[in-house]
Every structure is written in C-alpha cells, then in structure tokens.
Amino acid sequence: MRTVLRRMLVAATSLALVAAAATAGAVDVAKARDATGSSSITRDGKTSPVGSSTQFQEGDIVRVPSDGRLTIEFGDGASLAMVGPAGLRFGPMNPLGRRVVLGSGVITEATVLGIAVEIQAPNPYDCSLVLQNARAFARVNPGESVQFQKLEGVYAKAYLGNTPTDLGQSPWLLNARDGSVAMGTPPQGRETGPRGALKETALANDGVRVIVGGRAIVFMPAKSFKRETTARGGYLLCFNGADGEWGTVDAGRENTFFLASGNCVEFDANGDVIRFDGVMHIYEPLFDSVYTHDPIENAIDASPSYSKKR
C-alpha cells in the first residue's frame, strides 16, 4: 500500500512538474477595466489612449492622468487599481510571477491571487512589494517617499535591497531623502507636504537652512515663510510678510532671491529653481578662478581689455 502511495505521489509530482514546465514559458497579458479619464499606453515608442479592449504586455507604459482612474486586471482575476496621476511600467508577466514598476502615483488596491506580483519602486530606491493571496496599497512619491501597506491576506513583504520585511496592517514607509524606513502612520498631505517635511536647521536671526537635492537653501525671516514640499519632491517657499517687508532666500554661493509678500520661489528635487516671481540683484560672478584675464570662462569680455566689463 505504501509503495502504491509513494508511486502515486511521485507520479503526481512529476505531472505537476511537467505541467509547471509546460506553462512556465507562457506569456500572460493584462486588460484594462473601469478606466476613467484619458489614460494612455506607450508601446514601442507609440502612445495611444487606453480603451476597454486594451491589453497590456511586458514593456508597456501606462499613464493615468490626474483626473483619471484605471484598473488593470490579469488573467487569473488579480487586479491593480490605480488613481492618477500615476505612471506604471509592465515587467515580465508569466505563470511564475508578475512584475510592474510604479514610477509614481498610487495603487489604491492591489488584489493578488495565486500568482505572485511584485510592485517595484523605481531606482534609486531599490525597494518593492511582493504579494501573493493578499490585498495591498502602494504609493511612490519620487524624491520623497515610498509607502507599502498590506490591507489583508497571506503573503505581503516589502523588500529593501534584498532584505524582506513582513508587512502587517501598519504602513511601511521609506523616506527617500535619508533612506530611513519607518513602520506606522505616514505624514499626511503628501501632495503639498506638511511644514517641516524637510529637516530644518535653525540659524541666527530667524534664519532656517534646508537641503534640497544636495543644495543648501537659507531663508529668513523664517516666521514669515510658508514652506511646502511639492508633489515631485521639490520645495516651495512663499513669503507672507507685512506690506513693505521683504524676505530673502539664499541658494548656492551667489544667489540671493528677494521676495515681497506673496512672492514665491520653487525648487525642484535637485534644488534648482524652477519658478520665481521676486527680485534678484544680479552682478558679475564673484568666484571665478581666472578672474580678470582674457579669455574668461563665459566670454563676457570680447573687447581688447578688461575696461569694458562693468
């Protein structure tokens, strides 16, 4: 009897292996469902709208606009519900597993059945969420944070590097600025960010220094500045002083931005100014190594001598 059972077990295992091997090379596809707004798909460099018959395959990029929603449904009933603005790229999809890269935005609900799904955050964060028989939430704020949260289910792990962490009901939060990981309630108001989202260093005379994209930014008087982190990991400083009062923002070694009440200066995630409506006092460069000789780096002196530089 035991011999028969053993043979049956071996046969069943062999059949399972054969079946697995037979299906391992199969290519899975996903379909669009419940699309609202003008989501788009980019395939082989060509972009087209997402319709009810759209099928996604490896390499496709789908973008959901800020007023849009889109649910991606796989062959086995697993689904990813996205809320715009969001961008997602499809990786390999086969019976052994599926992978997508959430470039930015939110997957409000990832429902995963028997075939595992990995939701990656893009580099440089090097983290991902792996799900099987589970529901979960994922959000990527480029330059700011990555958030994973298991809603229910069996297998939900967050990987940072090659180190897995079992997820419970509390969110798993990666601070992209300093690489730290926290479990618990994430900061609220992510799109505009709370005051103090960046580490602030207090200076004398009501000055504050923050680092944005590796660049030191100093502003004063801090009490009159409203500061907000932006959706793309940048930083917005707006001066709300009294009439006739001015605030200053220093970025880099030579740049002082003067802001009257209501004026703003916005930095992107690199610490570069991308919007400004105040005043600057621009003079010639201060720190050129080869200062007065001809030629100089930027050719501001074409005359035969220094005498026409002002």
Binding site: I61, G87, A121, A204, D277, Y283, A299
Partner: protein
C-alpha cells in the same frame, strides 16, 4: 607668423565635452538591471525609471555645488553681459516665471529698446578728430532675442547649460551700418560621487560697438571664440585632507573683422591651478592660484609673450552678526604676474621699428570682488582689480579699475541701480614706436583715465513684461586730442516668454 592654434582651443573643448559626456551616459546604461529580487527574474527598474519617472534623483549632499544653479548661468551670460549689451547703470534682467519645461529649465525673452548716444563714435570734444565722423549723436533700435536653458542628466551629475543672445541694432539717419551682435555658449559639468568634477564649455561672441578701440575704421566688428576645460576635486582624494583642487585651461581666439584692427588678433591660453583650504566659520576658504598664460599675437607690432602669476587670497561668505540679512561674500587676493615677451622688430615703410622694448615685466596683481547684502532691499557690489592685460599699444598695460554698484528694491515692482567706475591704464611701449636707429620722436605711451556713472530702473509692469530705463555718461581723459565724453539713454521693454501663461500656484494660507 603667429596664426597657429587659432581654433585649437575650441576644438579641444568640443572634444572634451563629447569625451566626458560619453562615460556619463555609459554609466547610466551600465546600471541597468543591477537589482534582482529574490525569486524573480532580473529587474527592469532601471529601464523603467528612464521611461516612466519624470524626475532626476538628487545628488549627494553638498553644501556647495560646482555650479550655482541656473542663475549662475544667467549671471555669467545674460544679465551682466554689459559689454555693450547692458549699459552702465542698467538694472539687469533676471530669470523669472515658470522655468521648467520637461527636463529643461528655460528662460526665453524678447527685448525691444531704443538707445540714444550723444557721441556714438567717441570723438574728442577738443582738438582734431581722428577722422571725419565728428561728434555724431545716434539713435539705435535694439532688437534682442535670447534664451538660456539647462538640464541635468545622469541623476543630476551631468549638467548642461546653453545660452544664446542675439541683438540686431538698427540705426537711423546719417548712421553707421546696422550691426548684429551675438553671444552663444554651451557649458557642461559632470560630478562624480567622489567629489571630482569636470567642467568644459565653448563660447562664441561678436561685438560691434566702438568702445575702447581707436577710430581706425567704420567697422568695429570683432569676435572671439573661447573654450575652457577645468578638472576639480571638491574632496581631497590624494591626502584625505580638507583641501580642494582645481586645474584648468582656458583659451581664447580674438579676431577683428576689419584689417585696421588686426593688431588685436590673438590667441591666449591660460593654465591655472588652484588649491583652497577652509578657513573662517567654514564658509570661507584660503586659496592659492597659479596661472601660466601664453599670448600668441598675430600682429608684428605686438609681441608674443608668456607670463606666470601667483596669487594668495580668501573667498567665501561671512555672515555678519549685526543684522539678519547682512553678509559679505566674494574673494580678495594679492599676488604678482611676471611676464617675458619677445623682442620683435618689424618694418613700416623704410623704417625698422621695435614693437616694444619692455621685454620683462613683473607687476602687482590685486583683486577684490565683494558683495555686501545690506538688507532685504539693498546690495552693494565692489570690484577692484590691479592687473596686467593685453594692450594694443605695447606688450602689455597695467590697469587699475574700480567698479561700485548699488541696487535697491523700491517696491515689489520697481528696482533701481546706480553704478560708477574708474579706470587707469598705463600701457608699455612707445608712441610712435621706437625705430632702429633710435630717434627722438618716440616717447612712452600715454596713460589714460576713464570714468563713468550710470543710473537705471526696471519696472515690472506685469508678470511677463518689464520696462527698463537708464542713463549714463562716460568720460575719457587722455592727452587733449583723445579725450571724449559720451552721454547715453536707453528705454527698453522686455518680454518674459515663459511667464506669458502663468500656471495657478499652490494656494498659500493667510
């Protein structure tokens, strides 16, 4: 005899630009697929980040950056390009509005202006004019279009900046010809994680204003092509100290359109090495700068030469305790330049003339470039230089120049500036040139003083249009036949094209 290397600098800079862009791009490509998660096939995250994400990762934390953002480009390129483009006292343009389009920051603008000059050809008020222009007033319609743009690649490590500024001057009446002035440049800097950086660039510049050149022709056109490459180390990779190093090569090739000004045609190359060490409050550094300059001049009447300079100085910023906004920033240095020139002779008619018998020259080199942020409304900028420069008239000229500017925000829309300068020039050589055998007619070239005063205002009419107005006077005191005075007035309108359709801003809480 001296035409070698005219375009060598430009070609070298271009080659360097291409050469160091390649490894930057290769680095991007090489990182693809580096991360593999357990139990899954190879990662495609790196590929995805190029196509899905729209941001660039932040560089490592650096208290000081190699380049000071877009505004550094603006400062270098547009706003202080007042060698004729911006008149003395005028309040410069600064980038304003929404600047990020895709991966590029861009600042395009249009400017229309009218300019009046009292003495366009800079003719003397007394004595005999050198030609028949006389003291001619001139109206000029200035049509200007320009843009600066930059972008960051390779995760922010590679920064590329581009600028163009084109000015078409249309003149009315009994006028000199219309002229087209232009400046264009491209610069790129790549910073490695180790703190090493490489910066390079090329520029092209053409000018037609009659400033500072003798009245030998109606065509004052001249151009220069510059290239530079600099390698720096923000961290001491060799000894682990707090030293910073920088080595670089700048080349410039200058050429006049008219043969009458061919004496200015030349190629100059400057090698420099700079080493600095932190000093006061960690915001200042002491530095040593060594330069080696080679001047290759096309004219027989101006000698080739080479010089070595050494300067010691301090640079950085010093916050002042007295006030919240007050600070001083900039650099000061002291040193010397020691030059050796050839001893060429040349023929003019039946005479053999000596270009300049002052073969050796060692001169003091002083530099002060300081800005004082007085308050959230006012700044002062002071420049003083005592150095040895190229001269039309002999091997070199020793120049003392001081510039002082004061800028004030009167209101949120109105900004004013007053600027003044004084310059004293002491050229080597003789006028007329010494002959062989010597004669008694030749004497030392005359010293010259030049001073100017200008005042201007810029008014932000709305988010996308400024009005600028300025007036200035320049006075030259040479010996009696060459002194002149010139009054000038400018009225312009600048359109900030990137602010034409401003986007709604994030709501600000009261």
């Amino acid at each position: 005899m001296k035409k070698t290397g005219r375009r060598l600098g430009g070609l070298a800079a271009g080659a360097c630009l291409y050469a160091f862009a390649l490894p930057a791009l290769a680095q991007d490509a090489a990182t693809g697929g580096a991360t593999v998660k357990p139990g899954t096939p190879g990662s495609d995250a790196n590929a995805a980040v190029k196509t899905v994400a729209t941001w660039e990762a932040a560089a490592e934390s650096q208290p000081e950056t190699v380049e000071d953002t877009f505004f550094r480009l603006a400062r270098d390129f547009l706003s202080n390009y007042d060698n004729g483009f911006r008149r003395l006292g005028s309040v410069p343009i600064w980038p304003r509005g929404e600047m990020k389009i895709g991966g590029f920051r861009i600042f395009p603008f249009l400017r229309q202006a009218v300019e009046w000059e009292d003495n366009y050809f800079l003719q003397p008020a007394t004595g005999q004019a050198e030609d028949d222009h006389g003291r001619q007033p001139q109206w000029t319609h200035v049509n200007e279009v320009g843009a600066i743009a930059d972008t960051a690649l390779a995760g922010g490590r590679l920064k590329i900046g581009i600028g163009v500024d084109s000015v078409w001057n249309v003149r009315y009446g009994d006028a000199p010809p219309d002229t087209w002035d232009f400046q264009g440049n491209i610069t790129a800097t790549y910073t490695w994680p180790t703190g090493m950086w490489l910066s390079t660039g090329m520029t092209y510049d053409r000018r037609h204003d009659p400033a500072d050149v003798p009245n030998l022709s109606d065509d004052f056109g001249r151009s220069d092509r510059n290239g530079f490459v600099t390698l720096g180390f923000d961290r001491d990779l060799f000894f682990g100290s707090k030293l910073k190093y920088e080595v670089g090569l700048n080349t410039g090739s200058y050429q006049a359109d008219d043969a009458a000004y061919s004496d200015m045609d030349r190629t100059e190359s400057i090698f420099h090495v700079k080493v600095s060490y932190p000093f006061l409050r960690e915001t200042t550094r002491l530095f040593t700068l060594v330069t080696y300059q080679i001047d290759n001049r096309n004219s027989d009447a101006v000698n080739d030469g080479q010089s070595v300079g050494i300067n010691f100085g301090m640079e950085g910023s010093i916050p002042l305790r007295e006030g919240a906004y007050r600070s001083i920033r900039g650099q000061i240095s002291v040193g010397f330049d020691s030059a050796l020139y050839e001893n060429d002779t040349y023929r003019r008619g039946s005479e053999t003339l000596v270009a300049d018998s002052n073969r050796r020259a060692t001169n003091l080199n002083l530099l002060a470039a300081l800005q004082y942020v007085m308050s959230p409304r006012s700044t002062v900028d002071l420049r003083y230089a005592h150095d040895t420069e190229f001269s039309f008239y002999g091997n070199y000229q020793v120049v003392d120049r001081v510039d002082l500017s004061f800028t004030h925000n009167f209101t949120r829309r109105l900004t004013g500036r007053i600027s003044a300068y004084y310059e004293h020039t002491d050229p080597s050589g003789n006028d007329p040139a010494q002959s062989i055998p010597p004669n008694n007619l030749s004497s030392n070239d005359d010293n010259m003083n030049l001073e100017g005063l200008g005042v201007g205002f810029r008014y932000a009419f709305n988010e996308w249009m400024d009005i600028d107005i300025s007036a200035d006077v320049e006075n030259r005191n040479d010996h009696v036949d060459k002194s002149y005075k010139n009054y000038r007035g400018v009225l312009g309108v600048t359109f900030f094209l990137n602010a034409l359709t401003p986007k709604p801003r994030t709501a600000i809480a009261p």
